[in-house]
């Protein structure tokens, strides 16, 4: 059991965490979401981890957990704020690191609604097509495309003259 959960963690946790981080825009909240998913996974039958090892299952699980947390914050009228201490983004090629540019981008992303940030994440960072995103989220492809369009518009306005 220990081996299996650890293997699942090593194979998927990185991607799941990045997804949660983009949805919640907060490291502590993303850690909580990932924690919850793995606790639920461990509490299930011993055969379940084999099924759960499938990426889409875990992705749906972390997504549900993130939206549950977002709903909870909404009910309590709390807002998740981007961490001041830890960056939400990292540069793919660290040699070209430019902290100001990164911070501008982080602020712009943090201002998007989670649904739009999610589509940006899946499209840009996970390189999925609109059709794949639509299947994964079980949402109309046109809705996904609209969310992406709105997200880019907002990012463009926010970043105008700053980058």
């Amino acid at each position: 059991m220990r081996q299996t959960v650890a293997e699942i963690y090593d194979a998927h946790a990185d991607q799941l965490y990045r997804y949660a981080l983009m949805l919640l825009a907060n490291h502590a909240a993303a850690e909580d979401a990932l924690h919850q998913v793995f606790i639920k996974l461990a509490q299930r039958d011993s055969d379940s981890p084999k099924i759960a090892a499938e990426g889409p299952y875990l992705k749906t699980a972390i997504r549900n957990e993130c939206y549950r947390m977002l709903q909870q914050h909404k009910r309590r009228k709390q807002h998740t704020h981007p961490d001041a201490a830890r960056a939400l983004l990292e540069q793919v090629e660290p040699a070209n690191e430019c902290p100001d540019k990164r911070e501008e981008l982080e602020n712009a992303l943090a201002k998007l609604p989670p649904e739009q940030r999610e589509v940006v994440h899946l499209k840009i960072f996970e390189e999925l097509t609109f059709r794949e995103i639509a299947e994964l989220l079980d949402i109309e492809q046109n809705t996904i495309a609209s969310r992406y369009r709105y997200a880019l518009d907002k990012l463009r306005h926010h970043l105008a003259g700053r980058l």
Partner: protein, 125 residues
């Protein structure tokens, strides 16, 4: 104002930050602590089995008591009753079951297992 393509290029230069290395240890330890222990599963199975055996013994005792209270007469243990015992397993529980039916059935239902022609009755073991 940057174009969509420029925004996509800028975004493509980044990716969300990874989890901390310490998180793995924390999550796995918590997950292991929460996972159901195999011993508890076997204990649950053993408890159910024990409950079943106890219930079976209790019902055996009730059946025997009922039979002894109501009683049944030797003539009811006909060859047909013996055949029915053979049909349903020919063991002690089958014999008990038929004996119970004989003991608890009313007179009219005796005719269902009583032969039309009087004959020798079998011995209940």
């Amino acid at each position: 104002m940057p174009s969509d393509e420029q925004i996509e290029v800028i975004l493509g230069q980044y990716r969300p930050a990874p989890p901390s290395a310490e998180l793995r240890h924390r999550i796995l330890n918590a997950a292991i602590a929460q996972s159901p222990k195999p011993i508890f599963r076997w204990l649950a199975v053993a408890a159910v089995l024990a409950a079943c055996l106890t219930l079976d013994l209790a019902t055996q005792a009730v059946k025997q008591q009922t039979a002894s209270i109501l009683g049944y007469t030797k003539y009811q243990w006909t060859p047909q009753a013996e055949e029915m015992v053979a049909l349903i397993g020919n063991d002690t529980s089958a014999r008990d079951f038929i004996a119970m039916r004989l003991a608890t059935s009313d007179f009219s239902s005796f005719s269902l297992i009583r032969p039309a022609i009087p004959q020798t009755s079998g011995e209940l073991q």
